[in-house]
Symmetry: D3
Subunit: 279 residues, 6 copies
């Protein structure tokens, strides 16, 4: 689900940003084009690896398709000091791709690692940890990929492949029933309809008009539990808002189907990975 | 230094990512094109505002150039509950741009806020807090802009507008003198030469061959102090590695000229901003 | 749901194709830049108008934003001889945009007109006429827009905003249940799952594992009726294959929810519209 | 004359349209990247094949360059049930490219087939069946290629590689002679000049000032015959307007050199081709 | 014939090249965004002005559409010290566009000036001075525009809007007649056919098979004269090769119709223009 | 320092310009896709070769990656009649790339040759011949590469990787000291600061505030000599303005460090190279 055809264009743009008009001036002055080296991405802390083969290594391949590599699997836990990606090729090309590949690998592993921590907190409850649209502009497909690597699931990718009826929509439409009617008439039948409900009475309205997914944002656990009882499986219940590692289990135990967490992508700290090079 | 001409292209790409093939299906089903609204970005925590007028508001302008706005100044401290950006225009267009504008504004304010905290720690010492190339791929110009908003200064933007001679280069060249000679002969005379030194003897070699900037990475404060004494202003000294809010002052007091910190961009948590809309 | 921001890029590419390297050589040799004219799109046959204001007029606006226009509403029936779009501006710019605007307007009106004919055939049965992915490469968003103008509804836009499990997927997965299980675990929860069923026993399997939509391709009406009875509203039933204007009513009367027709987009003849110009 | 270098960009755009942000969700959930299959394009009706090797197969190659194929020659007649293109490669990639490749192949074969029918009607008269600029925006080069495959010839590709003086130009210039003089002075000497004439007296004017091609649009056969006699080979005569399969022979027998038909590209129904896959 | 729609993209690319990642660092540090200035392009030598309003001024407009300007007409002779373009707007934007606008204006005026010198040499003989495809990659449309400004005419723009049969083609086809037959059958009837002839016997072959244009490359004047006599107006005769200001008149007097000169574009020295700014 | 990744995009654009919509019509009509040939770039005059392998040959490779080649080294002097690049591949592809490859090779060799002539004039004085931003829009990286091939050095590539304080900046800032202070505070510490000085008193001001490079534009040799004495190596001195082959030595002998010459790129005549093809 990471389309290589399009990933290529993104990587080219990232390389262009880091190489500037004239490339790696320092290395070009010192290394010839044929000096070979081996390089290694080494974890500086424990983390869930994400995107080593499918993203970081591809950065090197765009610079020089003859660079060879082996990488740890996506989703594998690595410890400080372990090698995550080994590369061999012209030293000048390894240095050229280094920074972009690290920047991507560190961020994606950061997201996968944070996602895994949330997933571990709720195991084995039948609840999914899901992401949001609070992703880094330009990196949504990659960041949502990292969420899946970490064991999470994806919410909609864009405003056009999912429907979310919020308070402003409800106010304009006049009622949940009318908003759902309007939306259902307009969208492809392949999409589910999600409505944000603030109260149990709104939950009931949602159930009454066949809403597929009900979002309960910043709602306390007691209310979540009541909503679960009301829904009886007729709609998916999604909790969000203020979810942290120390309270996610409590939310999960209410019986909701999904817990969506913006912090998975907007606030996951980058993992620390460094590249060692052996000329 | 944020070129509007090129920012536009980036914003279009970010909007395309969030709008998908067919745009905001939910809102299109409910709002007509002429229903007007007012919207407001409200700080949910205290922060240094960055990019409200020059970035976030521009996202709305790309969706509909008739949207009007007023914004807090870049670099201004705002408190929880304060308005940072107010907008007026068609509700359908305000909703279309909301997520991209927030994602950018939150990230940039996060970087400015973290930068300011470092800058405040070292005030009024004559030392600059500077960023690195550890930025989010695709957002470097924006993130480095946020560092400046926070009171920091920028390191080189790419591999082609600055020179950094590291251990691999030194090993290949044989000596600092030879590496500097090779690089100096190859690059535009408008660029300074920076060399990473691990020891005081390397610092001496750098000074001997007229290096402009000496990077001391993961070097203890005692050694930094000695380097400052050796240099006597003949080269800029830059410290990096393991700099945190709780030790940056100590490093600054050694007398180095610059302290570079990757975390400014790769690990600044997004600030919490939400958009309220009044139809 | 026609995002102007992105439509612009498509129109620019279409104009580039028709203008070539040096533009309208003939008109440039004869008309000065300031000779004004009025132009009119005139229907040469009866049709449902589609895309006059939102597409055809936009082509003229890209060539020269000062061109003014009035247009018939999307979805309006026009008769031979009626004016569909009137324009005023520099004659040289009207001629420059003419062919691209006509080519688009004729095609979109053709699709809307054919869709309307299908829709009229099944009125007032509670069944939707829907399109497919058999669209012209590069024009999918526009062609699906024309289907909606004609009163039809849209199926998924791409392989990533809808799920369709077909015979090859079933064979590989081993069973409907297993295929649905695998897909459900992998996709955003905002998407429905559609399965293509060839037999009533497969329909039963689909119902048993909670499939949202069942596609019955090239299935006779008696079987469709039985499937409708089995489903009892637990899944949407979609019929497709060999649907023509002369048999669509019969299919609709089986009680299926949706009838999808590739011909709406791949075989709708262009409507005949011509541009008259008054210098 | 189908430049592969540029066809690639068009195919990438078409694939992006059909794959969306995240590609073929259904197949990605079920097939591994290494499951191989064979696939076959099978004609569902008799047709002139166009673009199998040079277009449809290239779509598969862009998705995965390791896909191998054999294809029928362009211009070959195939019957219902015959194989037109056989492919071998990873099943997941075959499914990814299927729809775009079929959409292109069906349209191009449709155009070639219709063109051939017109060409067959006028055989062996010394007259060319030619296309127009009434092509699908974005597909002109491909559609004009299909016309040649069907035995037709191409009119100008764009407004800048051919000259066509029409009534508005004549009105503005004051006379045919003046219009031709103005155009001749402005354009590359490598281009011929074509003028649309409505009457025999205009034909005479064209001949008098050395026009290269005279377009007679919606002119009856008797008049065409007279024009042929007047021209005596001094200019090419092109007939257009209202040409159908049942009257094209009659027009051809008047002795005109070219018959241009917009329907070749704007109204050719897609041919029916389906892809069978053998996992 | 300079399409503004596409010129814009070229100008953006040129500005991106000159502005780099972060724009005019020097001016941004010193000028505020609202300091206004007047600027003037002043000729430093006598020249034919080309592209002041349509190209150079457009560069300023892309940087800031509020910049106003007045410009000398294309084709006007200006003397050293004369003003060619006056501008008013924010000083920061005037400086940003200066270099790109000058680089373009100097080059185009250089080409127009050289072209005019050739044109003046052959006046009033009925012969056209024409350009070639020996243009600067990326600037062909602009450079050919400058040739027209200087009074020259354009040869074909690309390999696809003109036909030129050279010795390799003749060798492969076996004879001029066969080469012309093959080409005529393949190309749009709107294009003329040009053949390069080395000898008078080849000229005769060309005339015999109705070639439209005969290119005589590096042929002496006596032979040119004989070719003119043989052709008697049945084909255009184009001379090329080794044409200089001091021999062009002699060539023109042979009676050929066209003289093509690569140096017009590949070796015209830039004219000297400087920008004065009044803050 | 010629990034292949990005050179490719430039070459594709140049080929698109020369191939037009439908490619080389002439050759496509005559040669089959499998007819092979050998081709050779032959110097028609003595020159310094530039860009044969890294630029011209890459044009052929983009058209067909199977074309093989051998090329003279960059910087090598070749005489009239010598082969500079030999190629082997399909004749149709050799002809397709010919013009673009020649246009680039001739221009780059022209720049390298002119640069070498200046460099030879000042040998062995310790002074660098440097280029300017007076390059052809779109070709800056290539043209500056050719300057290096010729033995010159590069000035800044864009407004964002170098700083140049000129008279307008000084006027606005009030003094050299203030301008330097403002700029130094705003720019990356990796960049040097250059100031244009018109008088020796300004040179002194520059030295007093630690300017890195002083530009002396259109200053006579006596003054240059005095500036050299004043500077005593504390700043680099750059002379520019009115430098010709016949006075460059005199300027060099003043002791300045750098001589910058716009003519290297804006007025170098193309070298004459032709392609011979052996079918």
């Amino acid at each position: 689900m990471l389309e290589e055809l399009f990933l290529r264009n993104a990587i080219d743009a990232f390389l262009a940003e880091d190489l500037g008009a004239t490339g790696d001036l320092t290395s070009a002055a010192i290394f010839g084009p044929h000096e070979m080296a081996r390089a290694e991405f080494v974890a500086q802390e424990s983390m869930i690896a994400a995107g080593m083969a499918r993203v970081a290594a591809q950065v090197f391949m765009r610079v020089n398709p003859s660079i060879s590599f082996t990488a740890v699997e996506d989703g594998q836990m690595v410890s400080a000091g372990e090698s995550m990606l080994t590369l061999a090729g012209p030293v000048i090309d390894l240095l050229k791709a280094e920074r972009v590949a690290l920047n991507l690998g560190q961020r994606l592993s950061g997201i996968a690692t944070l996602t895994r921590r949330f997933v571990d907190q709720v195991r084995p409850l039948p609840v999914a940890i899901v992401d949001t649209r609070k992703t880094t502009p330009g990196l949504r497909v990659l960041e949502k990929y990292a969420v899946r690597v970490g064991g999470g699931r994806n919410h909609r990718f864009s405003l056009s492949d999912g429907v979310m009826i919020k308070d402003n929509h409800l106010a304009a439409a006049g009622s949940i029933a009318r908003a759902v009617f309007l939306v259902r008439a307009a969208i492809p039948h392949t999409l589910r309809i999600e409505v944000e409900a603030d109260t149990l009475s709104q939950v009931q309205d949602c159930l009454d008009c066949g809403v597929d997914i009900i979002l309960l944002d910043n709602v306390d656990c007691a209310t979540l539990r009541q909503a679960v009882e009301m829904a009886k499986g007729r709609a998916l219940l999604e909790a969000s808002g203020g979810i942290r590692l120390d309270n996610v289990r409590q939310v999960a135990e209410t019986g909701v189907d999904l817990i969506s967490i913006g912090a998975l992508t907007h606030s996951a700290p980058s993992c620390d990975i460094s590249m060692r090079i052996f000329c």
